[in-house]
Symmetry: C2
């Protein structure tokens, strides 16, 4: 059972963060647009149970992702299941219809431009994301995907990298929550 | 919105049916094993709403299928959404985990050996299936997939072919229902 261990931070000065990554010799990959469509569950309130279900469009690819409740008071650590779907716009629409037929209802979309960076730190490869979220602003995410027994060391590793990059003011709410709150 | 127009019949003498298909010049394709895992919905009783959700394994391929309520008192005509999943056993297990995380629970499996036949009839191409269902017996299905405006002519076409093939005693219950009833 895989867990996503993640920290997210608002970033006021993206240039300064990019400079720090450059000092570490980290390459920032070209931007990709991601569109995440989130769904409400037919029988429970995902906002209360702290779960999420989304379909992500990334270029021509589609993915479906379930996120379990956060299991930790400081990070965004949670169980995650992400599976690939057939690519293309028609498949994206078909999957929305499938979920709607099963009683799930679309509740919002998050559109972002994401630049990924693979950051070697303390012998691990942390996945960094430099995000520009439509109607919300700029953020950075640091993430490791681990088995349950690796959660604590992953948190230590990510927290240490965040400090080294000068990232502060950890944000545990999802982009969807922030967008729905802002409305 | 696609509808599956279908008739299903128990077949006491499969040899006789095969002979009739041969007279029509129909080729029967090699057998394939299909394993269908059905799921219960987290908030409603699919047996009562006459819906179904299943993951089908066919050789190395996997599919997910939603079936809406039957809309007709004589045939098995219903809305159907079928989408391909990644192939292989691991993907099949991953999708079961995904559905379970969303509150769906496995309720039964239907294993069958299916031989398909494409049957030209009244200017249409009807999909025939000669099925051996584990623990249940032998059946034949005749099916057309159509838009709503084509449902009535599809029913007429399939009913006419069934009569020509000597198929009687139409069975509207699903294989899953028949298996659960037999237990």
């Amino acid at each position: 059972m895989k867990y996503e261990v993640e920290l997210k931070f608002p970033v006021a000065e993206m240039d300064a963060l990019e400079a720090k990554l450059a000092e570490l010799g980290v390459e920032i990959l070209p931007p990709q647009v991601e569109v995440d469509r989130y769904f409400a569950h037919p029988a429970k309130d995902f906002a209360k149970t702290d779960e999420a279900l989304r379909i992500r469009r990334k270029g021509d690819s589609n993915f479906i992702t379930y996120k379990g409740p956060k299991i930790d008071p400081t990070t965004k650590t949670r169980h995650e299941i992400e599976l690939p779907l057939s690519g293309g716009e028609e498949s994206n629409a078909d999957w929305t219809r499938m979920l709607q037929a099963l009683g799930f209802t679309p509740v919002g979309e998050v559109r972002k431009t994401r630049r990924k960076a693979h950051i070697a730190w303390q012998g691990r490869m942390i996945e960094g994301s430099l995000d520009e979220i439509d109607r919300l602003g700029t953020f950075a995410e640091l993430e490791l995907v681990v088995e349950p027994e690796g959660i604590e060391t992953a948190k230590t590793c990510i927290t240490s990298l965040a400090a080294a990059l000068g990232l502060t003011g950890s944000e545990r709410r999802s982009y969807l929550e922030l967008l729905l709150n802002a409305q």
